[in-house]
Symmetry: C2
Subunit: 239 residues, 2 copies
Protein backbone atom coordinates (compact mmCIF):
# COMPACT_ATOMS: atom_id res chain seq x y z
CA UNK A 1 0.00 0.00 0.00
CA UNK A 2 2.53 2.57 1.02
CA UNK A 3 5.85 3.29 -0.50
CA UNK A 4 5.27 6.59 1.21
CA UNK A 5 7.28 5.85 4.31
CA UNK A 6 10.28 5.12 2.14
CA UNK A 7 10.00 8.55 0.62
CA UNK A 8 10.68 10.25 3.92
CA UNK A 9 13.68 12.46 3.94
CA UNK A 10 16.61 11.25 5.95
CA UNK A 11 16.37 11.52 9.73
CA UNK A 12 18.05 14.44 11.42
CA UNK A 13 18.54 14.83 15.15
CA UNK A 14 17.25 17.83 16.99
CA UNK A 15 17.48 18.70 20.62
CA UNK A 16 14.53 17.98 22.90
CA UNK A 17 15.78 20.60 25.34
CA UNK A 18 15.34 23.38 22.83
CA UNK A 19 12.19 21.97 21.24
CA UNK A 20 9.69 24.75 20.59
CA UNK A 21 6.65 22.63 21.24
CA UNK A 22 7.92 20.58 24.15
CA UNK A 23 5.51 22.25 26.56
CA UNK A 24 2.44 21.42 24.46
CA UNK A 25 3.38 17.94 23.33
CA UNK A 26 3.26 14.56 24.98
CA UNK A 27 6.92 15.10 25.87
CA UNK A 28 5.92 17.74 28.40
CA UNK A 29 5.19 14.83 30.74
CA UNK A 30 8.79 13.62 30.55
CA UNK A 31 10.68 14.95 33.54
CA UNK A 32 14.25 16.26 33.38
CA UNK A 33 15.55 12.98 34.70
CA UNK A 34 14.15 11.01 31.76
CA UNK A 35 14.97 13.51 29.02
CA UNK A 36 18.08 11.55 28.07
CA UNK A 37 15.95 8.47 27.47
CA UNK A 38 13.57 10.53 25.35
CA UNK A 39 16.36 12.09 23.32
CA UNK A 40 17.83 8.68 22.63
CA UNK A 41 14.71 7.32 20.97
CA UNK A 42 13.38 10.25 18.94
CA UNK A 43 14.45 11.29 15.50
CA UNK A 44 13.28 14.07 13.22
CA UNK A 45 12.04 14.06 9.68
CA UNK A 46 11.11 16.77 7.23
CA UNK A 47 8.30 16.55 4.70
CA UNK A 48 7.68 18.62 1.61
CA UNK A 49 4.26 20.19 0.90
CA UNK A 50 1.76 17.55 -0.15
CA UNK A 51 3.98 14.66 0.83
CA UNK A 52 2.27 11.59 2.28
CA UNK A 53 3.43 10.75 5.80
CA UNK A 54 1.48 7.50 5.93
CA UNK A 55 -1.73 6.14 4.47
CA UNK A 56 -4.82 4.76 6.15
CA UNK A 57 -4.30 1.08 6.77
CA UNK A 58 -0.50 1.16 6.62
CA UNK A 59 1.04 -1.07 9.29
CA UNK A 60 1.85 1.31 12.10
CA UNK A 61 5.46 1.37 13.20
CA UNK A 62 5.99 4.97 14.30
CA UNK A 63 4.11 7.61 16.21
CA UNK A 64 4.85 11.29 15.70
CA UNK A 65 4.71 14.70 17.24
CA UNK A 66 4.30 17.69 14.99
CA UNK A 67 7.31 19.99 15.45
CA UNK A 68 6.48 22.48 12.73
CA UNK A 69 3.97 22.92 9.94
CA UNK A 70 0.47 21.58 9.56
CA UNK A 71 -0.78 18.07 8.71
CA UNK A 72 -4.13 16.91 7.35
CA UNK A 73 -5.72 13.62 8.34
CA UNK A 74 -7.72 11.92 5.59
CA UNK A 75 -10.12 9.07 5.20
CA UNK A 76 -11.22 7.86 1.79
CA UNK A 77 -14.20 6.01 0.35
CA UNK A 78 -13.54 3.43 -2.38
CA UNK A 79 -14.80 5.82 -5.06
CA UNK A 80 -12.43 8.59 -4.01
CA UNK A 81 -14.66 10.76 -1.86
CA UNK A 82 -12.51 12.12 0.92
CA UNK A 83 -13.12 13.29 4.47
CA UNK A 84 -10.42 15.34 6.19
CA UNK A 85 -10.93 14.37 9.82
CA UNK A 86 -8.58 16.94 11.26
CA UNK A 87 -5.77 19.40 10.86
CA UNK A 88 -2.81 18.92 13.19
CA UNK A 89 -0.56 21.74 14.32
CA UNK A 90 2.75 21.91 16.21
CA UNK A 91 2.56 20.03 19.51
CA UNK A 92 -0.15 17.63 18.34
CA UNK A 93 0.27 13.89 18.51
CA UNK A 94 -0.01 11.96 15.24
CA UNK A 95 -0.59 8.26 14.80
CA UNK A 96 -3.95 6.85 15.86
CA UNK A 97 -3.63 3.11 15.69
CA UNK A 98 -6.45 0.60 15.34
CA UNK A 99 -5.49 -3.05 14.96
CA UNK A 100 -1.81 -2.12 14.54
CA UNK A 101 -2.58 -0.06 11.43
CA UNK A 102 -3.06 3.69 11.06
CA UNK A 103 -6.72 4.66 11.29
CA UNK A 104 -6.32 7.53 8.79
CA UNK A 105 -3.87 8.84 6.26
CA UNK A 106 -1.63 11.81 7.05
CA UNK A 107 -0.22 14.34 4.60
CA UNK A 108 1.95 17.42 4.97
CA UNK A 109 0.11 20.62 4.08
CA UNK A 110 3.11 22.93 3.86
CA UNK A 111 6.68 22.20 4.90
CA UNK A 112 6.44 19.92 7.96
CA UNK A 113 8.84 18.72 10.64
CA UNK A 114 7.96 15.68 12.68
CA UNK A 115 9.47 14.16 15.76
CA UNK A 116 9.30 10.36 15.38
CA UNK A 117 9.18 7.61 17.96
CA UNK A 118 9.14 3.93 17.17
CA UNK A 119 6.07 2.37 18.74
CA UNK A 120 8.03 -0.18 20.73
CA UNK A 121 10.05 2.64 22.25
CA UNK A 122 6.95 4.67 22.91
CA UNK A 123 5.44 1.77 24.79
CA UNK A 124 8.53 1.43 26.91
CA UNK A 125 8.36 5.16 27.60
CA UNK A 126 4.73 4.76 28.64
CA UNK A 127 5.52 2.09 31.20
CA UNK A 128 8.69 3.79 32.47
CA UNK A 129 7.11 7.20 32.95
CA UNK A 130 3.52 7.00 34.18
CA UNK A 131 2.83 10.72 33.65
CA UNK A 132 3.35 10.21 29.93
CA UNK A 133 0.49 7.76 29.74
CA UNK A 134 -1.60 10.17 31.75
CA UNK A 135 -0.71 12.99 29.36
CA UNK A 136 -1.54 10.83 26.38
CA UNK A 137 -4.88 9.87 27.92
CA UNK A 138 -5.68 13.51 28.57
CA UNK A 139 -4.71 14.43 25.01
CA UNK A 140 -6.94 11.75 23.54
CA UNK A 141 -9.77 12.96 25.77
CA UNK A 142 -9.40 16.41 24.26
CA UNK A 143 -9.24 14.94 20.79
CA UNK A 144 -12.41 12.97 21.44
CA UNK A 145 -14.23 16.06 22.65
CA UNK A 146 -13.10 17.86 19.48
CA UNK A 147 -14.34 14.94 17.38
CA UNK A 148 -17.78 15.18 19.01
CA UNK A 149 -17.88 18.88 18.25
CA UNK A 150 -16.96 18.16 14.63
CA UNK A 151 -19.79 15.61 14.39
CA UNK A 152 -22.20 18.31 15.52
CA UNK A 153 -20.80 20.59 12.83
CA UNK A 154 -20.94 17.98 10.08
CA UNK A 155 -24.36 16.66 10.96
CA UNK A 156 -26.30 19.74 11.88
CA UNK A 157 -24.73 23.02 10.79
CA UNK A 158 -25.37 24.89 7.55
CA UNK A 159 -22.56 25.65 5.10
CA UNK A 160 -22.30 29.16 6.43
CA UNK A 161 -22.20 28.03 10.06
CA UNK A 162 -19.57 25.42 9.19
CA UNK A 163 -17.27 28.00 7.62
CA UNK A 164 -17.74 30.49 10.44
CA UNK A 165 -17.18 27.83 13.12
CA UNK A 166 -14.05 26.71 11.33
CA UNK A 167 -12.66 30.23 11.12
CA UNK A 168 -13.41 30.96 14.76
CA UNK A 169 -11.86 27.68 15.86
CA UNK A 170 -8.66 28.57 14.02
CA UNK A 171 -8.68 32.01 15.54
CA UNK A 172 -9.22 30.76 19.04
CA UNK A 173 -6.63 27.99 18.95
CA UNK A 174 -4.06 29.24 16.49
CA UNK A 175 -4.27 33.01 16.71
CA UNK A 176 -0.79 34.47 16.68
CA UNK A 177 -0.89 37.17 19.29
CA UNK A 178 -3.60 38.28 21.67
CA UNK A 179 -4.93 41.22 19.71
CA UNK A 180 -4.51 39.79 16.22
CA UNK A 181 -7.93 39.46 14.62
CA UNK A 182 -6.68 37.52 11.62
CA UNK A 183 -5.80 33.94 10.75
CA UNK A 184 -3.84 31.99 8.16
CA UNK A 185 -5.37 29.12 6.22
CA UNK A 186 -2.39 27.16 4.90
CA UNK A 187 -4.61 24.44 3.45
CA UNK A 188 -6.36 24.53 0.07
CA UNK A 189 -10.06 25.07 -0.54
CA UNK A 190 -10.31 21.36 -1.33
CA UNK A 191 -8.96 20.54 2.13
CA UNK A 192 -11.39 22.93 3.77
CA UNK A 193 -14.30 21.51 1.76
CA UNK A 194 -13.36 17.93 2.63
CA UNK A 195 -13.00 18.91 6.27
CA UNK A 196 -16.42 20.56 6.48
CA UNK A 197 -18.34 18.13 4.29
CA UNK A 198 -18.88 20.65 1.51
CA UNK A 199 -17.70 21.20 -2.08
CA UNK A 200 -15.00 23.70 -3.00
CA UNK A 201 -17.58 25.79 -4.84
CA UNK A 202 -19.74 26.14 -1.75
CA UNK A 203 -16.70 27.00 0.35
CA UNK A 204 -15.64 29.64 -2.12
CA UNK A 205 -19.12 31.13 -2.46
CA UNK A 206 -19.53 31.23 1.31
CA UNK A 207 -16.23 33.06 1.74
CA UNK A 208 -17.35 35.55 -0.88
CA UNK A 209 -20.72 36.01 0.83
CA UNK A 210 -19.07 36.62 4.21
CA UNK A 211 -16.72 39.12 2.58
CA UNK A 212 -19.58 40.96 0.89
CA UNK A 213 -21.40 41.17 4.22
CA UNK A 214 -18.30 42.68 5.77
CA UNK A 215 -17.86 39.85 8.28
CA UNK A 216 -14.41 39.01 6.94
CA UNK A 217 -11.75 40.46 4.71
CA UNK A 218 -9.83 38.27 2.28
CA UNK A 219 -6.67 40.05 1.21
CA UNK A 220 -5.46 36.66 -0.03
CA UNK A 221 -7.28 33.30 -0.24
CA UNK A 222 -5.13 32.00 2.61
CA UNK A 223 -5.45 34.89 4.97
CA UNK A 224 -8.63 36.03 6.73
CA UNK A 225 -9.09 39.25 8.69
CA UNK A 226 -11.97 39.79 11.12
CA UNK A 227 -12.95 43.45 11.23
CA UNK A 228 -15.49 42.68 13.94
CA UNK A 229 -14.95 39.46 15.81
CA UNK A 230 -18.18 39.68 17.82
CA UNK A 231 -20.27 39.92 14.68
CA UNK A 232 -18.59 36.74 13.44
CA UNK A 233 -19.31 34.99 16.73
CA UNK A 234 -22.97 35.88 16.39
CA UNK A 235 -23.02 34.26 12.97
CA UNK A 236 -21.57 31.02 14.28
CA UNK A 237 -24.59 29.30 15.77
CA UNK A 238 -27.39 31.79 15.77
CA UNK A 239 -28.52 30.75 12.33
Amino acid sequence: MSESSKLMQKPTHHNCDTCDVRHKAMCAAVDAEHTDQLRAIVSHRDYAPGQVIFEEGDPADYAFNISAGEVRLCKLLPDGRRQVTGFLTPGDFLGLIADSAYAYGAEAIGQVELCCIQLSNLERLLSDIPPVREKLLSMSRDELAAAQEQMLLLGRKTAREKIVSFLLYRHKHLGRTEGDASIDLPMSRVDIADYLGLTIETVSRTFTALREEGLIELPHPHHVIFPNLDAVRDAAEAG
Copy 2:
Protein backbone atom coordinates in the same frame (compact mmCIF):
# COMPACT_ATOMS: atom_id res chain seq x y z
CA MET B 1 -28.82 23.13 34.50
CA SER B 2 -29.49 19.66 35.62
CA GLU B 3 -31.87 18.50 38.21
CA SER B 4 -31.51 15.29 36.30
CA SER B 5 -28.92 13.73 38.55
CA LYS B 6 -31.28 14.12 41.46
CA LEU B 7 -33.88 12.14 39.60
CA MET B 8 -31.74 9.05 39.55
CA GLN B 9 -33.26 6.06 41.18
CA LYS B 10 -31.61 4.99 44.39
CA PRO B 11 -28.30 3.17 44.09
CA THR B 12 -28.31 -0.59 44.37
CA HIS B 13 -25.27 -2.79 44.81
CA HIS B 14 -24.55 -5.55 42.36
CA ASN B 15 -21.73 -8.00 42.34
CA CYS B 16 -18.72 -7.32 40.14
CA ASP B 17 -17.88 -11.02 40.14
CA THR B 18 -21.10 -11.89 38.38
CA CYS B 19 -21.20 -8.81 36.17
CA ASP B 20 -22.30 -9.72 32.64
CA VAL B 21 -20.15 -7.14 30.94
CA ARG B 22 -17.07 -7.36 33.12
CA HIS B 23 -15.00 -8.84 30.31
CA LYS B 24 -15.79 -6.02 27.89
CA ALA B 25 -15.65 -3.09 30.27
CA MET B 26 -12.83 -1.12 31.78
CA CYS B 27 -13.13 -3.39 34.82
CA ALA B 28 -11.68 -6.26 32.82
CA ALA B 29 -8.28 -4.74 33.60
CA VAL B 30 -8.85 -5.08 37.33
CA ASP B 31 -7.16 -8.27 38.53
CA ALA B 32 -8.67 -10.61 41.09
CA GLU B 33 -6.53 -9.14 43.80
CA HIS B 34 -8.04 -5.67 43.34
CA THR B 35 -11.65 -6.73 42.83
CA ASP B 36 -12.47 -5.92 46.43
CA GLN B 37 -11.29 -2.37 45.93
CA LEU B 38 -13.41 -2.12 42.81
CA ARG B 39 -16.51 -3.52 44.48
CA ALA B 40 -16.11 -1.04 47.31
CA ILE B 41 -16.33 2.03 45.10
CA VAL B 42 -18.95 1.16 42.51
CA SER B 43 -22.69 1.49 42.85
CA HIS B 44 -25.51 0.78 40.45
CA ARG B 45 -28.36 2.87 39.22
CA ASP B 46 -31.38 2.21 37.04
CA TYR B 47 -32.85 4.65 34.56
CA ALA B 48 -36.26 4.66 32.92
CA PRO B 49 -36.67 5.07 29.15
CA GLY B 50 -35.97 8.63 28.10
CA GLN B 51 -34.49 9.62 31.41
CA VAL B 52 -31.60 12.07 31.38
CA ILE B 53 -28.42 10.69 32.94
CA PHE B 54 -26.55 13.98 32.70
CA GLU B 55 -26.54 16.98 30.41
CA GLU B 56 -23.76 18.52 28.40
CA GLY B 57 -21.89 20.97 30.55
CA ASP B 58 -23.00 19.49 33.87
CA PRO B 59 -20.13 19.45 36.37
CA ALA B 60 -18.76 15.92 36.11
CA ASP B 61 -18.68 13.96 39.34
CA TYR B 62 -19.23 10.39 38.19
CA ALA B 63 -18.11 8.13 35.39
CA PHE B 64 -20.17 5.14 34.33
CA ASN B 65 -20.12 1.77 32.70
CA ILE B 66 -23.19 0.59 30.88
CA SER B 67 -24.40 -2.63 32.52
CA ALA B 68 -27.60 -3.06 30.52
CA GLY B 69 -29.64 -1.14 27.99
CA GLU B 70 -28.60 1.47 25.48
CA VAL B 71 -27.68 5.15 25.97
CA ARG B 72 -27.62 8.02 23.47
CA LEU B 73 -25.07 10.81 23.61
CA CYS B 74 -26.37 14.19 22.49
CA LYS B 75 -25.00 17.59 21.66
CA LEU B 76 -27.30 20.55 21.09
CA LEU B 77 -27.13 23.85 19.24
CA PRO B 78 -28.70 26.90 20.89
CA ASP B 79 -31.71 26.73 18.58
CA GLY B 80 -32.45 23.11 19.45
CA ARG B 81 -30.84 21.26 16.57
CA ARG B 82 -29.42 18.06 17.97
CA GLN B 83 -26.59 15.73 17.03
CA VAL B 84 -26.53 12.26 18.55
CA THR B 85 -22.80 11.57 18.70
CA GLY B 86 -23.09 7.94 19.66
CA PHE B 87 -25.10 5.05 21.02
CA LEU B 88 -23.55 3.21 23.96
CA THR B 89 -24.19 -0.44 24.70
CA PRO B 90 -23.38 -2.74 27.63
CA GLY B 91 -19.67 -2.68 28.43
CA ASP B 92 -19.12 0.85 27.10
CA PHE B 93 -17.59 3.57 29.19
CA LEU B 94 -19.66 6.72 29.71
CA GLY B 95 -18.49 10.11 30.87
CA LEU B 96 -16.18 12.05 28.58
CA ILE B 97 -14.94 14.99 30.56
CA ALA B 98 -13.58 18.27 29.20
CA ASP B 99 -12.72 21.00 31.72
CA SER B 100 -14.35 18.99 34.53
CA ALA B 101 -17.72 19.07 32.77
CA TYR B 102 -19.41 16.44 30.62
CA ALA B 103 -18.70 16.99 26.92
CA TYR B 104 -22.15 15.70 25.88
CA GLY B 105 -25.50 14.86 27.35
CA ALA B 106 -26.49 11.24 28.02
CA GLU B 107 -30.01 9.79 28.01
CA ALA B 108 -31.41 6.32 28.52
CA ILE B 109 -33.02 4.89 25.40
CA GLY B 110 -34.84 1.97 26.99
CA GLN B 111 -34.48 0.68 30.52
CA VAL B 112 -30.82 1.19 31.49
CA GLU B 113 -28.56 -0.01 34.26
CA LEU B 114 -25.34 1.81 34.97
CA CYS B 115 -22.35 1.02 37.11
CA CYS B 116 -21.17 4.28 38.69
CA ILE B 117 -17.78 5.34 39.97
CA GLN B 118 -17.02 8.65 41.59
CA LEU B 119 -14.28 10.38 39.62
CA SER B 120 -11.98 10.73 42.60
CA ASN B 121 -12.23 6.99 43.16
CA LEU B 122 -11.69 6.27 39.50
CA GLU B 123 -8.50 8.31 39.56
CA ARG B 124 -7.25 6.41 42.55
CA LEU B 125 -8.05 3.19 40.71
CA LEU B 126 -6.11 4.44 37.72
CA SER B 127 -2.97 5.08 39.73
CA ASP B 128 -3.28 1.90 41.82
CA ILE B 129 -3.82 -0.42 38.87
CA PRO B 130 -1.74 0.55 35.83
CA PRO B 131 -3.54 -1.89 33.49
CA VAL B 132 -6.76 0.02 34.03
CA ARG B 133 -5.23 3.19 32.65
CA GLU B 134 -3.92 1.17 29.75
CA LYS B 135 -7.35 -0.32 29.13
CA LEU B 136 -8.96 3.10 29.29
CA LEU B 137 -6.41 4.46 26.84
CA SER B 138 -7.06 1.59 24.48
CA MET B 139 -10.82 2.11 24.78
CA SER B 140 -10.52 5.79 23.96
CA ARG B 141 -8.33 4.91 20.99
CA ASP B 142 -11.14 2.70 19.69
CA GLU B 143 -13.67 5.40 20.37
CA LEU B 144 -11.56 7.92 18.49
CA ALA B 145 -11.26 5.61 15.50
CA ALA B 146 -15.04 5.20 15.55
CA ALA B 147 -15.48 8.97 15.71
CA GLN B 148 -13.28 9.38 12.60
CA GLU B 149 -15.39 6.83 10.81
CA GLN B 150 -18.53 8.70 11.80
CA MET B 151 -17.07 11.95 10.45
CA LEU B 152 -16.54 10.21 7.12
CA LEU B 153 -20.14 9.08 7.21
CA LEU B 154 -21.54 12.48 8.18
CA GLY B 155 -19.42 14.48 5.78
CA ARG B 156 -19.34 12.33 2.69
CA LYS B 157 -21.96 9.60 2.53
CA THR B 158 -25.42 9.83 0.96
CA ALA B 159 -28.57 9.26 3.02
CA ARG B 160 -28.80 5.74 1.68
CA GLU B 161 -25.18 4.95 2.47
CA LYS B 162 -25.57 6.42 5.94
CA ILE B 163 -28.52 4.17 6.73
CA VAL B 164 -26.88 1.07 5.29
CA SER B 165 -23.60 1.74 7.12
CA PHE B 166 -25.53 2.24 10.33
CA LEU B 167 -27.43 -1.02 9.94
CA LEU B 168 -24.30 -2.97 9.09
CA TYR B 169 -22.42 -1.48 12.01
CA ARG B 170 -25.17 -2.59 14.37
CA HIS B 171 -25.18 -6.02 12.84
CA LYS B 172 -21.42 -6.43 13.09
CA HIS B 173 -21.06 -5.19 16.64
CA LEU B 174 -24.36 -6.06 18.25
CA GLY B 175 -25.59 -9.09 16.33
CA ARG B 176 -27.05 -11.58 18.77
CA THR B 177 -25.76 -14.89 17.54
CA GLU B 178 -23.43 -15.82 14.72
CA GLY B 179 -25.97 -16.75 12.12
CA ASP B 180 -28.63 -14.17 13.00
CA ALA B 181 -29.08 -11.84 10.05
CA SER B 182 -31.28 -9.40 11.91
CA ILE B 183 -30.88 -6.51 14.31
CA ASP B 184 -32.89 -4.52 16.82
CA LEU B 185 -33.10 -0.75 16.72
CA PRO B 186 -34.24 0.26 20.21
CA MET B 187 -33.91 3.97 19.42
CA SER B 188 -36.53 6.11 17.69
CA ARG B 189 -36.40 7.43 14.13
CA VAL B 190 -35.59 10.84 15.59
CA ASP B 191 -32.52 9.39 17.30
CA ILE B 192 -31.39 7.68 14.11
CA ALA B 193 -31.91 10.88 12.11
CA ASP B 194 -29.98 12.97 14.61
CA TYR B 195 -27.21 10.38 14.64
CA LEU B 196 -26.85 10.31 10.86
CA GLY B 197 -27.38 14.00 10.17
CA LEU B 198 -30.72 13.47 8.43
CA THR B 199 -34.40 14.21 9.08
CA ILE B 200 -36.84 11.56 10.29
CA GLU B 201 -38.67 11.76 6.96
CA THR B 202 -35.54 10.92 5.03
CA VAL B 203 -34.73 8.08 7.41
CA SER B 204 -38.21 6.67 7.04
CA ARG B 205 -38.25 7.02 3.26
CA THR B 206 -34.85 5.37 2.98
CA PHE B 207 -35.99 2.41 5.09
CA THR B 208 -39.00 2.07 2.83
CA ALA B 209 -36.84 2.23 -0.30
CA LEU B 210 -34.50 -0.45 1.03
CA ARG B 211 -37.48 -2.61 1.90
CA GLU B 212 -39.01 -2.18 -1.56
CA GLU B 213 -35.70 -3.17 -3.13
CA GLY B 214 -35.66 -6.30 -1.01
CA LEU B 215 -32.44 -5.36 0.79
CA ILE B 216 -34.13 -5.42 4.18
CA GLU B 217 -37.34 -6.59 5.78
CA LEU B 218 -39.10 -4.46 8.38
CA PRO B 219 -41.53 -6.65 10.31
CA HIS B 220 -41.55 -3.86 12.87
CA PRO B 221 -40.04 -0.36 12.86
CA HIS B 222 -37.53 -1.47 15.47
CA HIS B 223 -36.45 -4.72 13.94
CA VAL B 224 -34.57 -5.21 10.67
CA ILE B 225 -33.98 -8.49 8.88
CA PHE B 226 -31.32 -8.92 6.18
CA PRO B 227 -32.44 -11.52 3.62
CA ASN B 228 -29.09 -11.15 1.84
CA LEU B 229 -26.31 -9.66 3.89
CA ASP B 230 -23.83 -9.49 1.02
CA ALA B 231 -26.19 -7.43 -1.09
CA VAL B 232 -26.46 -4.96 1.80
CA ARG B 233 -22.68 -4.81 2.10
CA ASP B 234 -22.43 -3.94 -1.58
CA ALA B 235 -24.82 -1.06 -1.03
CA ALA B 236 -22.76 0.37 1.80
CA GLU B 237 -20.04 2.25 -0.01
CA ALA B 238 -20.30 1.33 -3.64
CA GLY B 239 -22.69 4.21 -4.29
